[in-house]
Amino acid sequence: MSTVPSDQQLIDFVVREARLLDQQRLEDWLDLFTEDGHYWMPVEWGQTDPKLTTSLMYEDKLLLRIRIDRLKGKATYSQSPKSRCHHMLQMPQVDERDDRERRYVTWTPLHYVESRAEEQTLYAAWVTHHLTVVDDAIKIRLKRVDLINCDAALGSIQLFV
């Protein structure tokens, strides 16, 4: 990559991120986050605070690591049988870019399907990626997932939107 990523490179990154999740290449996926990166799924519409308001997920790298290791564990009863997931992305749009600060924001509407045994559930969401560049590689500082029905009474979501 040249010193600054092109819009197309940012878009390709977001598309590849979803592919890693679909293929459950979760170690590779976790490597996409910066060391202080977060995955955030708010529970309130338009939520601004992840600390004093709860969320569906607000995970640092340690929590994501626990989640990924757990999915591989033998005593993980809720993953016997295992879940599968499918991301259908609309073309990501680059909303903000600041080459000097290496801050990039993309916006991606998507449909997400999670299935397990006989059950299949469709979710709709908008994903906002806050990206940066570390050692010549694009990394996620924050992945924010706004479910269209974040405040509804949901069943289990076991994988990553």
Partner: protein, 438 residues
């Protein structure tokens, strides 16, 4: 179709034996409907917290069993609970879950209006009812209030039926858990804060209530989450400060001995709590400045006494679980025999540091969200139980652990923390309040 249980007191009582209960308690839809008509009407059900309706005209729409109700602030000093239907055609009067109606509820269908106590204020073109005897009918009485409402230090409970016990008699010493949670505020006050998590469960509501005092499952069902968290933290550099997240997860893997010695206290009418001497919340890091605030408010001895209480889960029968040390309340809302909505609410200790709310909110997210790796395994075992109970190989669910024939009638007892006495206590209360109005 002939009813199996409706009007049949004997058949219902026979479902609860000393050390086992019949599977129909979880599977049978007729029994579920009878629970809504009797159990959830004869007992005091948590409606909400009065901080959800701080200003006159504020309302919060919820359910008591299967009944849609509204909690409304009808004056500076009081809250009412009203059945949520227009007396005209039955239209539910609120669209949003919460909001402010001003001085009147106004039906969106024909604009009938009601004062905040539910009484009828106005009907458009009222002359159309002249000479019809309208004033003597149901409609003229407005929105029906729930008659038995009790606000206990901000926590609003209601009882739909006239039969049953008074508030104090129903809860008795169990109120000490609510007291302890509220006393943890330096000013003795809580506010609903931090958002609510709502998680739909495909299982019977009683499975969740039983699980609150089931201390033999965490190290098994939560090995995959809490055990993995402990393993993941082992990789941390020497001297790294253990994060709040690991402090929350790790105690789920505590030993049988830890849970045996924590103790369970069993109260009358199905109430009880785990964690008499200690709990999974005992060893959280101190929050800077908080103890000093408590000492200033209560004096050192009293502050210590309040904070040394680390009750684990308090069950308020039939469908509430409270965690005083982290200001969290879970409400198990019955939807159908095989469907339960679990709402997990949190509270701010007014006057205490924000970091306490931050921990509470984090606990709620990690343990109670539809995305929680702890919640996933709990729901998995409930769903497998719901499916497995269909088996005709055995119609009974076993609740025999540490049973002693002389336990019946003993009051306010502390017992081994792995006993299923509290579960038996809940089912005895179930039979009592189910048949009370039959």
């Amino acid at each position: 179709m002939i009813s199996k249980y409706r009007g049949n007191r004997q058949a219902i009582s026979a479902l609860v034996r000393e050390t086992e209960v019949h599977r129909d308690l979880y599977l049978d839809q007729e029994l579920f409907e009878l629970e809504m008509e009797h159990l959830f009407a004869n007992t005091w059900i948590y409606v909400g917290h009065d901080s959800q309706v701080p200003k006159v005209g504020d309302y919060y729409a919820t359910t008591i069993g299967a009944q849609p109700v509204i909690m409304v602030r009808d004056s500076e000093s009081s809250t009412k609970v009203l059945y949520n239907r227009c007396p005209h055609k039955g239209t539910r009067l609120t669209g949003e879950t919460c909001g402010n109606v001003g001085r009147f509820f106004r039906c969106p269908y024909h604009a009938w209006t009601f004062r905040l106590d539910g009484s009828l204020a106005g009907v458009p073109l009222k002359t159309g009812y002249d000479g019809t005897g309208f004033a003597d009918g149901h409609a003229a009485r407005g929105m029906t209030p729930v008659r038995h409402v009790h606000n206990y230090r901000g926590f609003v409970f209601a009882k739909l039926n006239d039969v049953g016990l008074g508030f104090e008699e129903f809860f008795g010493q169990a109120l000490t858990s609510l007291d302890n949670m509220i006393d943890r505020s330096p000013v003795g006050k809580l506010e609903v804060a931090g958002g609510v998590l709502r998680y739909m469960h495909d299982c019977n509501w009683k499975m969740l209530v039983e699980n609150q005092t089931d201390t033999c499952h965490p190290m098994i069902a939560h090995q995959s989450s809490a055990g993995t968290a402990i393993d993941a933290w082992k990789g941390a550099p020497d001297g790294a400060k253990k994060p709040m997240t690991v402090e929350i997860y790790a105690p789920f893997m505590s030993s049988y001995e830890f849970f045996q010695t924590m103790g369970i206290r069993v109260w009358d009418n199905g109430h009880g709590h785990t964690g008499v001497s200690h709990s999974i919340h005992s060893d959280y890091s101190a929050v800077p400045g908080y103890f000093e605030q408590m000492v200033a408010a209560y004096g050192e001895a009293r502050a210590k006494a309040i904070l040394d209480e680390n009750r684990h889960n308090t069950v308020y029968f039939p469908n509430v679980m409270l965690k005083g040390p982290i200001q969290l309340l879970r409400l198990f809302k019955p939807i159908a025999a095989n469907k339960t909505l679990v709402e997990s609410w949190t509270y701010r200790l007014v006057g205490a540091p924000d970091m306490l709310l931050e921990r509470t909110v984090m606990y709620n997210r990690l343990i109670n969200a539809p995305t929680s790796v702890v919640g996933h395994d709990d729901l998995e075992v409930y769903q497998r139980a719901q499916a497995g109970l269909a088996s005709n190989g055995n119609e009974w669910v076993n609740i025999q652990r540490l049973y002693a024939p002389d336990e019946v009638g003993q009051r306010n007892v502390v017992t081994d923390g792995t006993s299923e006495w509290q579960m038996r206590n809940q089912f005895r209360a179930w039979a009592k309040f189910m048949t009370m109005s039959l």
